[in-house]
Symmetry: C2
Amino acid sequence: MNYRFCRQALRIVVIATCVAMTMGCTQRQDAGESGGTRTAERATTAAADPLPSWRDDGAQRTIVEFVQRVTDAHGPNFVPVSERIATFDNDGTLWAEQPAYFQLAFVLDRVRTMAPEHPEWKTTPPFQAVIENDRAALASMGMPELMKLIAASHSGMTTEEYAGFATAWIDTATHPRFRHRYTECVYQPMLELLAYLRANGFKTFIVSGGGVDFMRTFSQSTYGIPTEQVIGSSVKTKFEMQDGKSVLVKLPEINSIDDKEGKPVNIGLHIGRRPLLAFGNSDGDLPMLEYASDGSGPRLALILHHDDADREWAYDRDSHVGRLDRGLDEARARGWTVVSMKNDFERVFAFQTTP
Amino acid sequence: MNYRFCRQALRIVVIATCVAMTMGCTQRQDAGESGGTRTAERATTAAADPLPSWRDDGAQRTIVEFVQRVTDAHGPNFVPVSERIATFDNDGTLWAEQPAYFQLAFVLDRVRTMAPEHPEWKTTPPFQAVIENDRAALASMGMPELMKLIAASHSGMTTEEYAGFATAWIDTATHPRFRHRYTECVYQPMLELLAYLRANGFKTFIVSGGGVDFMRTFSQSTYGIPTEQVIGSSVKTKFEMQDGKSVLVKLPEINSIDDKEGKPVNIGLHIGRRPLLAFGNSDGDLPMLEYASDGSGPRLALILHHDDADREWAYDRDSHVGRLDRGLDEARARGWTVVSMKNDFERVFAFQTTP
């Protein structure tokens, strides 16, 4: 376990505490049609204006002008389709990340769901604290305790079993503030941007600190992004035979933390070229934005600034989740596009009927 | 350095020796049009019969019937486009691998090319042996020596610098037996198969023990496979700033050996679903073929059997390179399709004008 991972895990502790303190994580019982599928369709059927949830001026103009420039076959900045790679962070860029990363809620819910099969957890920390929702104990939980929770809830099963659990959760769990499924807490302007880029020959990728197997359960239905274009944090897996059938078993051992420098490293490993466009929202995205920007020819780096407490949240330099500090300075220095949620988003979520 | 990697490296030693003993690795000076691009185009422009270099009966029929079954929207075995994943080994499956893996020739050539910048190599083993083409010394070379060669030739540079070196080599180096560029030593029937699958909604991937950065320099032009659909062995990389520009530097440390169990593990990491079709040629491909076969619904696993010493090579159970031993038994037991190069390929290489 290396230093970077420890640092990451420690940050997660703060977040986990936040989750435990603030989230109800109620499961919606009447899970019917996937909300994510609905919103994805809404994005792709926008006919005349491909970006209706963006306000006309500002960031939208920058994006459209960039796309026109690199797709103009007769212009000096034309980029062939094969090089039109666009990478997006997920937490805080495609969907919300407050009051805590959504996947953390899944970890805690998963432990509670598994509890009946583990009667010993009732008296075993840290499981006991999760089961009893013991806020004091959760608040004082350290890294080793959190690792036990993640190991118990995210490993020791096949990738297909894990996908089943994660899908069942994502289909029913709801966000504590918005009371909508998490896959409905995606930013409508970003769904439109993904569809707009794809319509212009871009291949869209997620490059996120979130767990790759977790995100893959909803990336296609929510974002229209297939599993093979999702890059995320991962545990090691082991190939083995179970009852005569080959499976991949998730191990309680980190393979990659897809955050900070891990993002361009994984872009190199999985994609093998610099993104033409990269979109993030926190300091954890800076290396990815730098890597995209430093390619030859025109490049577009964008940062979503959460400055809209009414419709979503307002946070940046001092936030525990999705801190954006050095990023604001570097965006100014490098001329990156800072997208203001308040000013650039005509609408934030599809479920907010009035903008 | 773990056991599996040591075993792999030891196997490479045998091969490296073989390379040194048998290959001239002359560089063609008049490198003009890419032979690879030509052959890829030839494959995709085949109009009436999409698989003209396959003989009509046998394996071709199995492939066509399978593709018709999974693409028949009204049939019971229909598979949506998003799940039409096809994975191909490279060495011995898409291009030849005799008398030794082509990338090994690059490693030795690279050391010779770099030698003038390293005058100390003239008297430093194992570089001295490579520079002097000292067959006795090369034949006795052990794993630590080979690792020094790979570390010197495949790390300590940015991924973009490496791509430049590899491209320059692949554009000019020629195969010692066929006297054609390596990217022309690809199997014409396999190019046609790749194009046929893509025309039927499949996404084609390379999953090979070869170096991922090496293969990515020719995957698009030779196979029509973009870099992000190439999975291979890799070294770790480091994100850093060089002269104010962000780069990925290749480190002399293994990240992943994409062979045997490493293939399904990397398929899980990079693709996130079981292949619908998998094609290999050696025991190193068995876990990938098993992983594909064990998915639900119809699956197609294929093994290319090198049984054609006249047009290519004949080798299987006892070969140092691309050994196919357990695979022949398992193919029979599981009902996999064994493709006979001699009987199923109407033509092997595009440059062989008479079949």
